[in-house]
Symmetry: C2
Subunit: 319 residues, 2 copies
């Protein structure tokens, strides 16, 4: 939840001249998007989101993110699409930040997804993978395996202050992941952050996917592993195999998983848990004093990581 | 800008059963309202604001605030109105907080008001005073003259660390205000916080007044003095008499100012500047660690206070 950069009505006026989106009716900062500043903009033509990209989103990556949303929407995926300016640009500059106006999607994100929500969201992920398979741009996963070692080193000194033996957990799992990480898995554009906040529902059907600012090229099954971490643990920390089985089954209705992907799933899940453990731990130890957001507790992903490391077979995910 | 208390879609469901406002289409925390948590709620029947009242708004005052909005709206003032529950209540309890669902108003608040904006806002204040004159409830101004002494005492030790001689400025002006404060002025329900953020415009006409959570019974001319402080100083700190003259003239088109009110204006303006100086100073020195909001700089109101103390005649406000 964040508004890092202020935008006034006066700032909005020249911006609106660049777009053919009508006259403003309402304009409010919204508490959404940890990485960016977001504003709800209602005009006499419709509802939009104005996003200002803050330091964590590299300007050089915007053609990938914004182009991907255009590409996916053209293939029938419901996601925000960047409104083009009168001169055809997808992005602009506003108050010293790269910015974009995106279409606003109706729908509500669930906090405690049901098994049916998991099935629907798993299906949506597979459709996203299919629709993105011919997207022509390429972006490295900046938070993939090679980044984890860097994050582990920079958090090493203080990790045990956050939780007893956390440093050892990170070191043991990272060493194992570096040794066993599968070299070749079916890959393409992945969302890489499809948590429940980023899936909108209307009447229990998926009405949209949002927040593509971690999207990149990586293994499809890793994206599924991110979702198993994000959707299938209960508030008490336990893993819910019913939800996991439904999520995977939903996925497989639209994209097949091959034997190598299935076998790799426990390792990929451990990797995804480690990724969120490390980035949350880093933010926890290095809070941004200007951020209007409290860092998320890293420890829940330590618990999830321990669960995945103990998994003996993909069957434990309901596969 | 604030969301202090989290509200999930799951929390929303039982709430919506209490109201006849349709099915939710979108729900987002919004960065508005320093004192409360606010959410934009779009349903298939319309747009609403869900407000959770945080510690600074006393639950016992809600019948005054919510009743006032109902009263004003019935008299033609455009302001949010509390949607009544199926059982007729104006407020509910949600996540341990008193809460209300209010109608959402279109319009945009200006950051740098023009002289015409000032005229329109001044007229809106007078209409508010007229419409509230027969409101039957009464609420003391909890941030009136008697509260300033308490705030001055509690900030005394550290005020000079914020600005050189700030303690002396506060003491001198407070002593003078206590001595000279007018005993009887035409009084009634005032907004008490009609800053530009709390006035919505559409095509340069006032489309709504918001944020009635400082409303109370006090001198009408004091409310005007709050506005002169909030609307008529430029970003470089200078006073703009053109804007002030237009704001007062706009006010007088709908409510007359008598001679006593006119004569008291410099003192009332100094009092209003001191009120915002003191509350901002207090928040500056006692930041709420759980607030997702940076305290506002108190020093701009020190400068405004010095301006008013040097005023020799109401004519200096364009009266």
């Amino acid at each position: 939840m964040a508004v890092y950069t202020d935008v006034t009505v006066e700032d909005l006026e020249p911006l609106l001249k660049d777009y053919n989106i009508g006259e403003p009716v309402s304009f409010k900062g919204i508490a959404e998007g940890v990485e960016n500043s977001n504003f709800y903009l209602l005009t006499d033509k419709g509802a939009y989101i104005l996003t200002l990209y803050e330091r964590r989103v590299r300007e050089a990556d915007l053609p990938f993110f914004l182009g991907l949303m255009d590409h996916l929407a053209a293939k029938g995926i419901r996601c925000p699409v960047p409104v083009h300016t009168r001169s055809g640009a997808r992005g602009i500059q506003l108050n010293g930040r790269p910015a974009a106006v995106l279409t606003f999607l109706d729908g509500l994100s669930v906090r405690r997804p049901s098994a049916d929500h998991c099935a629907a969201a798993g299906a949506a992920l597979a459709k996203l993978h299919e629709a993105g398979s011919d997207f022509p741009l390429w972006r490295m996963n900046a938070l993939g395996l090679s980044a984890w070692r860097t994050l582990a080193e920079s958090t090493k000194a203080d990790s045990d202050n956050v939780q007893k033996n956390l440093g050892a957990l990170i070191e043991v799992s990272l060493t194992r992941l570096e040794r066993e990480w599968p070299a070749t898995l079916p890959s393409g554009v992945i969302h890489a952050d499809l948590f429940p906040d980023n899936v909108l529902f209307m009447h229990d059907a998926v009405s949209g996917l949002i927040d593509f600012y971690f999207a990149c090229n990586d293994a499809y099954a890793y994206d599924l592993a991110v979702m198993l971490n994000a959707w299938c643990f209960e508030q008490d920390g336990t893993f819910n195999i019913t939800k996991s089985a439904k999520l995977i089954a939903g996925y497989r209705r639209h994209r097949a998983l091959n034997d190598v992907e299935c076998a790799a799933l426990p390792l990929l899940c451990a990797g995804a848990a480690l990724r969120f453990l490390l980035t949350r731990l880093y933010d926890w130890l290095n809070p941004n004093p200007t951020a209007l957001v409290r860092p998320k507790d890293p420890r829940e992903f330590a618990r999830r990581l321990r669960f995945h490391l103990a998994v003996k077979s993909p069957a434990e995910y309901g596969l």
